[in-house]
């Protein structure tokens, strides 16, 4: 009898918590790279030169700013079973293959959502994915197919490539929840609306792998988390 009573009270509290606007803080910070910034390596364009050379191509696998800020790092809260699902936006996120380059280089999309893959280059591209959990895709996108919507159901880290233009490289993060973000060109990031508590923060970069850090989020306001990748051997 007593236990049922306690349970009832707990349930009631939960219900109240759900009803009122949740208490939440933000995780903000900057990712830096401890090693020397690599000189931007230009990529030789060997095919469809006219279209592909409309933009300069440099190796984007490790982009470090002058102040060591590291771009394109995916920062997320690990093991967060009560994190809210990432909302599926009304307008699908886009992946543009403009000038034979994936824009953006690293992108986070919600699981169960659709990605619009754009081809306005007027030439053939072919989107080739190397997923862990979703079915692989090797789909040609000729000139006449300017938009190709593809749905991604399962959380994943997916390498993107184009077999026509072998230098094209990008990443797609299919996020299971909303507590995912990607660092900007200066290495800064912000994960918003995180429920208070102690968490493990994971951060991943395509060539440097995954690192973790501990973070405690307060009921409101920002908690600062400055993250570093050790120099690559």
């Amino acid at each position: 009898m007593k236990r049922i009573g306690t349970l009832g009270i707990v349930a009631l509290i939960c219900a109240c918590l759900a009803a009122v606007p949740a208490l939440a803080g933000n995780v903000v910070g900057k990712v830096t790279y401890a090693g020397a910034a690599p000189a931007p390596k230009p990529i030789p364009i060997t095919k469809d030169k006219e279209v592909c050379s409309r933009e300069p191509h440099v190796d984007e696998s490790l982009v470090v700013a002058a102040d060591k800020g590291l771009a394109n790092v995916v920062v997320y809260i690990k093991d967060a079973p009560n994190a809210p699902k990432m909302a599926i936006p009304a307008k699908a996120p886009e992946l543009d293959q403009r000038s034979c380059k994936f824009h953006p280089h690293v992108q986070i999309i919600p699981a169960g959502g659709t990605l619009d893959i754009l081809n306005n280059d007027g030439i053939l591209h072919n989107i080739h994915t190397y997923p862990k959990n979703n079915p692989p895709i090797n789909q040609a996108q000729p000139k006449f197919k300017t938009k190709m919507p593809i749905k991604f159901d399962k959380p994943d880290t997916i390498k993107l490539a184009c077999d026509v233009h072998t230098w094209m490289s990008g990443w797609l993060i299919v996020a299971p929840n909303a507590w995912y973000t990607v660092s900007g060109p200066d290495g800064t990031f912000k994960i918003e609306n995180v429920a208070p508590g102690a968490y493990t923060l994971s951060y991943w970069q395509e060539t440097l792998g995954t690192q973790t850090a501990q973070v405690t989020v307060a009921a409101s306001g920002d908690v600062k988390a400055d993250l570093t990748f050790p120099a690559k051997k």
Partner: protein
């Protein structure tokens, strides 16, 4: 006077007593007999099974009841109840309607009969009229009149019948309006409860309820009465086409196993304990539609044991593991059945029963362990010393030793023969020395002289000559790149490159470890350039290496040295011991004086040679190697062709305590081939000499499975698996595929492409993530060729197999030149077409000119504005932009190389034909109708694909691509 009382020889009361006792004894004896005959161990087992079935049925019944839509059932029942109530209330009206209905039924019957009768008259008159009219007979007019008459009548009856039927419907409607639709509701209720009713009936049958029924059960199973219709009875299948040899006479098998194994052929007992468990893989075994239906194949053909037995011990069950044995001892007081020549096979060896019926195939479908064992027997070369049916005509398992000086030197050969795995742990060469019966100091001293003799013999009996000096020096890193990329690793392994143990197909060629300490660089160079020049029968193909490449590979292989601690060198000569050994050998063959005379006439070297020759004879080296002087010597081992039927008492278990079965003996023999010498006093020549093979316990079990499968008994033709011409073509091809290890590189017949792991490894070393490396490795490995017969034209394939040319520009791995004969080539062609179920052998390419408009559309679709095929595909001399690693096959070859139907299937959905191909999908199989461009050929995807196919077929000339 004699007294009136008669005289008896014996006392009557006593005799009465004796008779009484005798009859009582007889009665008791009879009762005991009946009881003994009646009480069998299988009866309680069958009772248990009935209880189990009842339990399952009750469970299923409960589930079925739960599955019933109770709400709907309640509704129907309520409605039925309402119908009932209303019928009672409106009794009078209902009776009236019923009365009406009865009258109407009569009316319907009469009108219907009238109509039908008249219809047949009408048909007859019409026929008669038509005949007359056709003959222009004057009687036709009269007949027509008659016809009209009958037709009028027919119409009348039809009308009457219709009216009656309308009335019937009306009455039904009125009844329903009055009380409700009882029949419809009943039907609905039955539908709802169909599963429940069926299960209830089944339950009533297996577990009768009520006193009478239960009493009946007892009576019909009672002793003496059970001849009529007992439900407990011996279950048997008589297999008159599966005879059994019981010495001098063959009798049909009568399998009574299902007397206890009652659930074996029924689904639903998968999780029940034995003897009731459902036999696994019903789609293959026991089920009536499976290839092994129980009423044709039975049980003991595969499981062995005594077919007619109905008792656990009597059937000769045999445990599969010590745990099972302990359990059986507890539950059945198990012990080996005395004098049983064919006890059951422990389940781990069950696949040894497949072979008698599945003769003449390379692999037996689904018999994984047996297939593995067969591959191992071929690899280790058991057939070199033991004659084995089914392994005749195979090449010797080891390399020829007739040009040994060209390849290596005695300093290497001596320690190699003494202990092969010390030099190369993963070698297939077995070990003869340093084993349990020849390791004492005296044995070692003796065997050292024996090996010296063999080495001397082998290096003396060698063809003179050698290979020329290397034309330059190679670069080891470049050589390593070649070895890991051109395809060597499809058949060879190198320990330092491996992350996990290589598969059997990657152990097809010798492991390359230590090759640099073994072979001379000149030999390696000559060998990799042209293997057949040194060893015409080798399976190693020609990789078409340039001089530069061959030099680099040689330089790399030279870096693969012997393991640390391994030393080349030969044991000291011991002339005194050698003399003794030589004499021992001579004494067995000649008189003492002759021995002395012969010894006196021989030099030390001649004695060494003689000893070597004797030892090669003794150990049977020529079983696996071609050796001068032993070209025709018969093999030295026991024939194994009927080893699986060999009487156990003919196997010498010596003083070794293991279960006395064939499988235990053979397993032990493979584990330690000299073990049965333990405790015996033997001269060196009498000792066991089978060498120790480098096999894991799993591999040993697989080999034992194969040896056990070689039995004397031949099944009747009717039950063997006969090959039709398509399967014969398949098996002949599979034989060649096996002999050339095609599956080391290609995925074929659902198996193979073992080289892919090495390519994925390579890609990961180049920096790719695991998923990407695994995925890309599919495209960067040699192609899948299961569908080759549907893909390419036979004439093209014939030329390609003779002289391969690169098709896929992105591949570093090369299709080698195997040097197939015409016959082999044709066998492979037949195999590929049989595998794809395509037409054999040749077909004309489409010759009629295609409609120009279609070709124009096809050309447009392949252009940059549409599918842009030539962005990656070559077209004869026109090459795509970029690096050749990004190019795709030459479409100018399509006409001579590809089958038109395949081109169509390929464009439609390449991933379906070749999961993981580099070719992207243009049409979406999920939304095919909308996935092509809308402005060509009216947006019809099928027409678009055909147009592209036809356009591609116009490219190139007939003769290109040879």
């Amino acid at each position: 006077m004699p007294a009136k009382n008669e005289e008896y020889a014996r006392s009557v009361p006593l005799l009465n007593m004796v008779f009484a006792l005798c009859s009582l004894g007889l009665l008791l004896g009879t009762l005991w007999m009946v009881w003994d005959d009646y009480y069998r161990s299988w009866r309680p087992v069958q009772r248990q099974f009935q209880a189990l079935t009842a339990k399952h049925t009750e469970e299923a019944l409960r589930q079925a009841e739960q599955a019933v839509n109770q709400e709907e059932l309640k509704k129907i029942q309520e409605e039925l109840q309402a119908v009932e109530t209303r019928s009672k209330e409106k009794r009078k009206q209902l009776d009236e309607l019923n009365e009406k209905r009865k009258r109407n039924t009569v009316r319907v019957y009469i009108t219907d009969t009238n109509f039908k009768n008249t219809k047949s008259v009408f048909d007859a008159v019409r026929f008669a009229y038509e005949e007359l009219a056709h003959q222009h007979s004057p009687r036709a007019a009269k007949k027509l009149e008659e016809l009209h008459e009958v037709q009028k009548k027919l119409t009348e009856y039809k009308l009457a019948n219709d009216q009656a039927l309308t009335e019937q419907a009306e009455i039904k409607k009125q009844t329903e309006a009055l009380v409700g639709d009882r029949a419809g509701l009943d039907m609905k209720r039955q539908d709802l409860l169909a599963a429940v009713d069926r299960l209830q009936k089944k339950l009533d049958a297996v577990a009768p309820k009520g006193l009478v029924m239960r009493a009946f059960e007892h009576v019909r199973n009672a002793p003496l009465l059970d001849f009529m219709a007992p439900d407990l009875k011996v279950q048997q299948v008589v297999l008159d086409n599966q005879n059994k040899d019981i010495n001098f006479v063959t009798i049909p098998r009568v399998d009574r196993c299902q007397t206890c194994h009652l659930g074996a052929d029924q689904a639903g007992y998968e999780n029940d304990p034995q003897p009731f468990t459902t036999h696994p893989q019903q789609e293959i075994y026991l089920a009536s539609k499976s290839p092994h239906p129980v009423d044709k194949v039975g049980c003991t053909v595969c499981h062995r044991g005594l077919d007619r037995a109905t008792d656990f011990l009597d059937a000769a069950h045999w445990p599969d593991s010590p745990e099972q044995q302990a359990q059986w001892v507890k539950s059945h007081d198990w012990h080996p059945k005395e004098h049983e020549t064919s006890p059951m096979l422990p389940s781990r060896f069950i696949e040894s029963s497949c072979l008698p019926c599945h003769q003449g195939v390379v692999h037996i479908p689904d018999a994984k362990k047996w297939n593995h064992g067969k591959d191992l027997v071929e690899r280790v070369g058991c057939y070199g010393c033991h004659k084995m049916k089914g392994f005749e005509g195979l090449r010797k398992a080891g390399p020829p030793l007739t040009r040994l000086t060209w390849k290596t030197d005695p300093q290497w050969a001596y320690p190699w023969i003494e202990n092969p795995p010390a030099f190369r742990p993963a070698t297939w060469m077995p070990r003869f020395f340093g084993l349990s019966n020849n390791s004492s100091p005296a044995d070692v001293a003796r065997t050292q002289q024996e090996i010296r003799g063999m080495v001397t013999y082998l290096f003396e009996k060698t063809e003179p000559g050698g290979f020329p000096k290397l034309p330059g020096t190679g670069d080891p890193p470049r050589g390593e790149k070649l070895v890991t990329s051109v395809g060597c690793l499809g058949c060879h392994a190198v320990a330092r490159l491996e992350k996990s143990p290589p598969s059997l197909r990657r152990r097809f060629g010798p492991n390359l470890d230590g090759i640099g300490s073994k072979a001379k660089p000149e030999w390696i160079y000559a060998w990799v350039k042209d293997p057949k020049a040194y060893f015409p029968e080798t399976r190693m193909p020609n990789m078409r290496l340039t001089d530069r490449e061959a030099l680099d590979i040689t330089a790399y292989l030279e870096t693969l040295k012997a393991p640390e601690g391994w030393k080349p060198g030969i044991a000291e000569a011991d002339p005194k011991l050698q003399d003794e050994l030589v004499k021992d050998q001579m004494r067995a063959r000649m008189m003492e004086e002759e021995v002395e005379a012969k010894m006196a006439s021989m030099s030390e070297h001649e004695k060494e040679l003689y000893l070597g020759q004797r030892m090669i004879t003794r150990y049977g080296c020529f079983g696996c190697h071609l050796i001068q002087g032993f070209e025709t010597t018969p093999p030295i081992g026991t024939e194994l062709s009927e080893e699986g039927s060999k009487e156990v008492d003919r196997l010498d278990f010596g003083f070794v305590h293991i279960p006395e079965t064939r499988q235990d003996w053979i397993t032990e023999k493979l584990k330690n081939p000299r073990i049965f010498d333990e405790g015996k006093v033997k001269s060196p020549d009498e000792k066991l000499k089978m060498p120790l093979f480098n096999l894991t316990p799993e591999e040993r079990e697989a080999v034992v499975t194969v040896i056990l499968s070689m039995v004397k008994e031949k099944p009747q033709m009717a039950s063997t698996y006969l090959l039709d011409s398509r399967h014969k073509a398949l098996e002949a091809g599979r034989r060649l595929v096996q002999e050339h290890n095609c599956q080391g590189c290609h995925l074929l017949d659902g198996e193979g492409q073992d080289i892919r792991v090495t390519i994925a490894r390579q890609l990961m070393e180049e920096g790719l993530g695991e998923e990407e490396a695994d995925s890309r490795a599919v495209a960067f490995s040699p192609p899948y060729i299961t569908g080759e017969g549907a893909r390419v034209r036979s004439d093209w394939l014939f030329r390609f197999l003779k002289d391969p040319t690169p098709i896929r520009p992105w591949l570093s791995v090369r299709m080698p030149t195997f040097g197939f004969t015409d016959e082999e080539n044709n066998t492979l062609l037949k195999y590929f077409t049989a595998l794809s179920q395509s037409d054999f052998p040749f077909e004309t390419p489409p010759v009629q000119p295609f409609p120009p408009a279609e070709i124009a559309a096809g050309k447009k679709l392949t252009s940059t504005d549409y599918f842009n095929c030539f962005s990656c595909h070559q077209q004869g001399a026109r090459k795509p932009e970029g690096d050749p690693s990004g190019w795709a096959p030459d479409l100018a070859l399509a006409r001579s190389r590809l089958r038109p139907a395949w081109i169509e299937d390929w464009i439609k959905d390449p991933q379906k034909l070749y999961p993981g191909t580099k070719m992207p999908s243009y049409f979406d199989p999920g939304s095919f109708e909308t996935s092509g461009p809308d402005d060509v050929l009216g947006g019809d995807e099928n027409k678009q694909i055909q147009a592209m196919r036809d356009y591609l077929l116009t490219l190139g000339s007939d003769r290109s691509g040879s």
